[in-house]
Assembly symmetry: C2
Homo-oligomer: 465 residues x 2
Amino acid sequence: MNSDGAVAQGLAALVTQFSRELGSSGVLTGDDVAARSCDPFTHIPPASPALLRPRSTSEVASILEQCHRAGQRIVVHGGRTGVAGGAFASESELVLSLERMNRIIEIDPVGCTMTVETGVAIETVQDAAAEHDLLYPIDLGSKGSATVGGTIATNAGGNRVIRWGMTRQNVLGVEVVLADGTILDLQNRFLKNNTGYDLKQLFIGSEGTLGVVCKAVLRLVPRPTTQHVALVSSDSFTHVLDLLGRARALQQLSAFEVMWQDYYAIVASDPARRIVEPNAPFYVLIEIMGYDETGDERAFSALLEHAFEEGLLVDAVLASSSKQAEDIWRVREGSEILVREMGPFISFDVSVDIRQADAFVSAVRAALAATFGDYRSVAFGHLGDSNLHIGVHLGPETRSRELEVETCVYGVLREFGGALTAEHGIGTSKRDFLPQHISPEALATMGKIRQALDPDRLVNRNVLF
Amino acid sequence: MNSDGAVAQGLAALVTQFSRELGSSGVLTGDDVAARSCDPFTHIPPASPALLRPRSTSEVASILEQCHRAGQRIVVHGGRTGVAGGAFASESELVLSLERMNRIIEIDPVGCTMTVETGVAIETVQDAAAEHDLLYPIDLGSKGSATVGGTIATNAGGNRVIRWGMTRQNVLGVEVVLADGTILDLQNRFLKNNTGYDLKQLFIGSEGTLGVVCKAVLRLVPRPTTQHVALVSSDSFTHVLDLLGRARALQQLSAFEVMWQDYYAIVASDPARRIVEPNAPFYVLIEIMGYDETGDERAFSALLEHAFEEGLLVDAVLASSSKQAEDIWRVREGSEILVREMGPFISFDVSVDIRQADAFVSAVRAALAATFGDYRSVAFGHLGDSNLHIGVHLGPETRSRELEVETCVYGVLREFGGALTAEHGIGTSKRDFLPQHISPEALATMGKIRQALDPDRLVNRNVLF
């Protein structure tokens, strides 16, 4: 424990006390902490003197109650896959990790619910649901590591929001420990429950600033038995919008992902991901998932045929196997190629009016060109959800000019009335931009809520605002 | 203005001031107030000296700001179709009605949103959406009068929650006036927006206790082009559950409404609503809505055929016209027959574990028999959503023994871990039962939130807790 000398005496005493309560494997220190990373990009470890690993809600409550009395700050860790810096912890903060609270408690196949401890990984939840022919619809690239707790804290989105909604729409109940150690049992299992304020909504998407979610009741849906995926190219954004309008009328629609040419050209440099020719301005991954083998295939073919007849498509490739479907998805999930070909880059996760998405992308490019001259950028995203991701690279000085790039892009975003973050959250990294993108009245109201639940700002103090 | 003498001087001065600001048609007094009803059952008028009818958010803000300064209480009125007594107003309270704020502001057919003033009726919203081949999916018997504002305040449910969710799932943004007159612009239009706390969630389902919602951005879905409805009877609850499991696998499923024999026997006394023979213990209305004429019909027929083959059904009638579909829906919406045949009755709106719904109904009957001897009851509801409605009649003394009946039924409900209200809300009528159905910690947290936003409890003071 090299850092012990720097630890305040009160903090050291708390850690000693927690070691007694949680056992030796319940408290990590020294190299065991330094070996961890707080985020998937920069892999910065927590600077904390200790990382606590409770095994139960009552242990979490005991930790928070003691920290509350001692005025000790806590940073909460889930799978640490978040990209907004929400897991960074300073040397005066303790880390509370839910990694040992990862049990699946109950599955109700009739009510279509699953009750879990929130340290469980999304993929584990999906696998357990599949055993009952059910699906937990939240699906992320990082599902192997991302936890239910982390996705609740950030109201995670992902690939199938257009069909099943964000995490918020898929959580029926929670058990939360408040900053003062109070256990709040909100484990609702019903689709309909208006018994007082729906308090769980406070904890979903508040990035861990209002309490620690220890258990969750998740809503499951029948597991789809069909999947059809196509990659198409299109010659105009108007045609892409027409295609979206038609695709929306398929209730089986589970993804509508648009990639601008700047993105596709880079990813298609990998021959395995060059599914259609990279000669068009727009590429769309369309996916449907359903329960009717004949009907779904017919509906998907009809969609694409009509789109062709009406000139909406330049080219189209339909996956004829699940392997091909995976290959097409790998086009959309080409971040490792982006990292290789244009890393480092500053990434953006915004929502804009779908009708203006291409105008927004053009305006961002114009602003980047005017500000930086030489730059590279890519644009892609969940267009059906209004959600765009943009990556910007300025050469070797990209990281050092991050603030300038953000100021430039968010300036354009404000003109378009867009949202600062669609699904990644504010974390610590967008915190300084928040006041420019919501009203002072909204910010003040958020402050009142935080003040009401964690007046000393002991939980995730540096996150959000 | 007969009641003028009883009006406190400060209140009278405020009313005079509001008359100046809102114009004479903006403030109703005397008989114009006494002619109104606060609820659809007892038609009790507000006891208020005046009813304010602002035309804009800024007028609402001015009213609330002045009331805040004067310590004047306000009760907010939408369409006054709520059945939990949320609109009752005393003589020391002013009524604020949103009835003149009923404009449809904008429809975005690409983003599938509609922005409205919240005094607009649900049916008006549905009609406006239909002109763009879109649907606002919240559907209630009272849709002609119920307003967007009222349904947001109560997080209204209705018939198609199993498909499209509660009101909460269909509201993207709101504009709210807080109790102190602060205007909070939360008019998000995006499916994905994690820019800070999702404050709108506070105002949805809080029954008007945290502020007045003046505008809303609603989420629309493509308007279904097919509808198939059947009424079936079944000989056991296990078979009803099996049928639900099968029906859920139809993504077109839009309603799964179960009626116990006590309900059906009464409604089927109307020959037009005797669709199947009243000789079975359970009746189910199944509806699908979709976008594929051939596929949907095939899927619906297949569902019913397989259910027959497996012995899940005693009898079944499929609607072969929209007229017949309406007739079948009138079986489920037979409240006027209930009123005629077993009025007055105490009505319950609870959620219970779907698997235990029949055991719950039996336990309620046993408890009623043990407590009251002679009684009549009916049970029906949105079983796919866990939501049951139960009506209880004790003869002429039903109303005077309301509290005893409620105590009896809610006692059973607690044993089953059910929810005190699924979709109607707490209002004033279930307020005394709330503390028995949520934890003290949850109630205290609700109090903290209310304290943070309306410390003087000036808005809807008697509602909820």
